[in-house]
């Protein structure tokens, strides 16, 4: 999706001042983050929020506080599932209807800590030959899918070198309805500054992006 979340290389933004301290500053940020991970795994709830967040109107995306994007995404998911209603959210002290989730109990503190401590790898144990090896020259396919993609605009159509091979990883892009793209070999691809940015790129800069095999072609 060619939306404003794909920020790499855009002008007009100020470099932030570096801040210190714990990331969750406001009480509502702590509530949002705690709720987000404590409700992870609720039946029917999408695992990720990036599709929703990337679909926000660009001006809103840029001006919302960071954790508000997640609050809005998770609220929408609960509404879509019918587990909460807008009337209930508008009047949180009023009556609520019990959700129709037989046998459901929310995660306990022990369960959530175990979950946070588990291995969460993108790698899957699938045997598949790798199309590329470290050192191979590749070109990123120039594609502009309307759905979620992990290919930033600033590398599309550009030439790079396979810098590291990571084995087979779960494919994260949206695919056309009715089609399926299985797990793919994942690579770190290195690009030079001038290759990506022309005269603004520094000859001694190397930019690295993780890309899946389906995103790449062998360089001519």
């Amino acid at each position: 999706m060619n939306s404003v979340h794909d920020l790499g290389g855009m002008d007009g933004f100020r470099v932030p001042k570096r801040d210190t301290g714990f990331a969750l500053r406001e009480e509502w940020e702590r509530l949002t983050w705690g709720m987000l991970l404590a409700t992870f795994g609720t039946p029917g709830l999408p695992a990720g929020n990036r599709r929703f967040i990337e679909s926000l109107p660009p001006a809103r995306y840029l001006t919302m506080p960071y954790y508000a994007r997640f609050l809005e995404a998770r609220t929408k998911s609960f509404l879509d599932l019918g587990l909460v209603t807008q009337q209930e959210l508008d009047n949180p002290d009023g009556p609520v209807t019990k959700p129709n989730l037989p046998g459901f109990t929310p995660r306990t503190p022990e369960q959530v800590v175990r979950f946070l401590r588990q291995e969460h790898s993108g790698q899957v144990n699938v045997a598949a030959p790798a199309a590329f090896a470290v050192g191979d020259e590749v070109v990123v396919k120039n594609d502009h899918p309307a759905g979620h993609t992990r290919v930033p605009r600033y590398v599309r159509g550009h030439r790079g070198v396979i810098q590291r091979a990571h084995g087979v990883h779960v494919f994260e892009d949206d695919v056309a309805p009715g089609t399926r793209v299985g797990p793919q070999h994942l690579y770190t691809v290195a690009f030079t500054g001038p290759e990506l940015w022309g005269s603004r790129g520094h000859a001694r800069d190397r930019l690295h992006v993780e890309l899946w095999e389906i995103h790449l072609e062998r360089a001519p």
Binding site: M10, P16, A38, M64, P106, R107, P109, F115, V170, R204
Partner: protein
């Protein structure tokens, strides 16, 4: 830089300050309704925040870095397969299992960013700082990493190679900063205390413990 001062700035953290109370109302309403419906356990929410506030954080990455300074075999293992080291040391977790370590030197400087989102190695550095999630950092780090570093207070010569790592998949990067001079007599614990969060993202270099900057 001149280009900083021209256009109307969009600064994601500051621009929306007036609606903080709206988000507070909305977060409280959602949590209240979810709690009444038994869709969330408030004690679990507290456990999540406590976990990220006290149990995982930059102190974990700092221990890895300090050990890599004194133990060449460990450093080689960390650079070759940080994922295996994280597993051996029981440091895996949500965001950070597929860990890669990269090392700074007098001629190479590494900088980590996530231009599409805010991916960050939670399991070894905790939750990302506000600056890392800022639109300005995400926009500029890839096209002008040297300018960004200069604004962060680190001027690099043209002889230094800058390597930027944009975390677009599940791979998470840990930068091993250079060991500051004058630290030969320090213990492992003392060395770990010198390692800052931002140095492990590549946003700063570490200074000698006796320098005025390091005393701040």
């Amino acid at each position: 830089m001149a280009e900083d001062k021209v256009s109307a700035h969009v600064h994601s953290h500051e621009a929306d300050e007036h609606t903080q109370s709206d988000y507070s109302v909305r977060a409280k309403a959602l949590v209240s309704v979810l709690t009444k419906k038994n869709l969330v356990n408030p004690a679990t929410m507290d456990a999540v925040v406590e976990f990220y506030e006290t149990r995982v954080g930059p102190h974990i990455g700092a221990k890895l870095v300090a050990r890599s300074w004194v133990d060449a075999e460990f450093r080689a293992r960390l650079l070759a397969d940080a994922r295996a080291v994280a597993r051996d040391e029981q440091l895996v977790g949500l965001d950070g299992t597929d860990l890669v370590a990269v090392e700074n030197s007098p001629t190479v400087h590494n900088l980590v960013v996530c231009t599409l989102c805010s991916c960050y190695p939670w399991s070894v550095l905790g939750l990302p700082p506000t600056w890392y999630k800022d639109s300005g950092y995400r926009a500029r780090a890839v096209i002008d990493p040297r300018g960004v570093l200069e604004e962060f207070g680190l001027a690099l010569g043209d002889d230094v190679e800058v390597r930027v790592w944009d975390s677009t998949a599940e791979i998470r990067y840990l930068v091993i900063p250079e060991r500051p001079p004058g630290t030969e007599s320090l213990s492992l614990e003392e060395l770990a205390r010198l390692v800052t969060r931002d140095s492990m993202v590549g946003a700063e270099k570490l200074r000698a413990p006796s320098s005025p900057e390091a005393q701040r």
